[in-house]
Symmetry: C2
Subunit: 124 residues, 2 copies
Amino acid sequence: MSNTEALPLIESESDAVVPCCPPLTERPFSAEEAETAARMFKALGDPVRLRLFTAVASHEGGEACVCDISDVGVSQPTVSHHLKKLREAGLLTSERRGTWVYYRVEPSVLAAMGKLLTIAPVAA
Amino acid sequence: MSNTEALPLIESESDAVVPCCPPLTERPFSAEEAETAARMFKALGDPVRLRLFTAVASHEGGEACVCDISDVGVSQPTVSHHLKKLREAGLLTSERRGTWVYYRVEPSVLAAMGKLLTIAPVAA
């Protein structure tokens, strides 16, 4: 098996998580809101995923090839597994161009997470 | 055993997580930064914990008694377990006053998470 074939060959974009929720400090979340938001937080709740995510997010042009970001001290299958989890959570999208798969951060999801962490005034 | 004794009777504040990291989009995280930030995200990566956290964060005065926030459809021991996890992650602090334990959101951690999700300009 060639190196290329070992990559996660996913050509279509994932179904992005729809921004769901008010700031964490605004009101208690409903069960449904909590499910959606927890999915995003959980995806970033692993050190290897977080290193991969920041590597993609900070890469030139906002996207990165797997070949650019695999230097996180785990095996290539593990890298592929974590990239898949980030895609499933809607945090990354992927596109195959020629030999390589390129990953890009989904800006709408980052914006939604930023909104979650907006600090609302504390109720008096 | 009385109802009160079943509560998590923790009187001292937890060791808050020290804000650690630049925005997610600024540069790849080191292993150490990823460990710290992933701990915070993981703590919020569970729907029940997220409902408890938002219930505390949005409660009058920014703090809540366990008696105020237990209505999340799980047993009291499960509520206690998740509140402990949130404390261990440094997201909540707790204080016993009289009969009840009061929980409060750790503002410095929220601010640190807000910083993580600041969207830095994408490198050209």
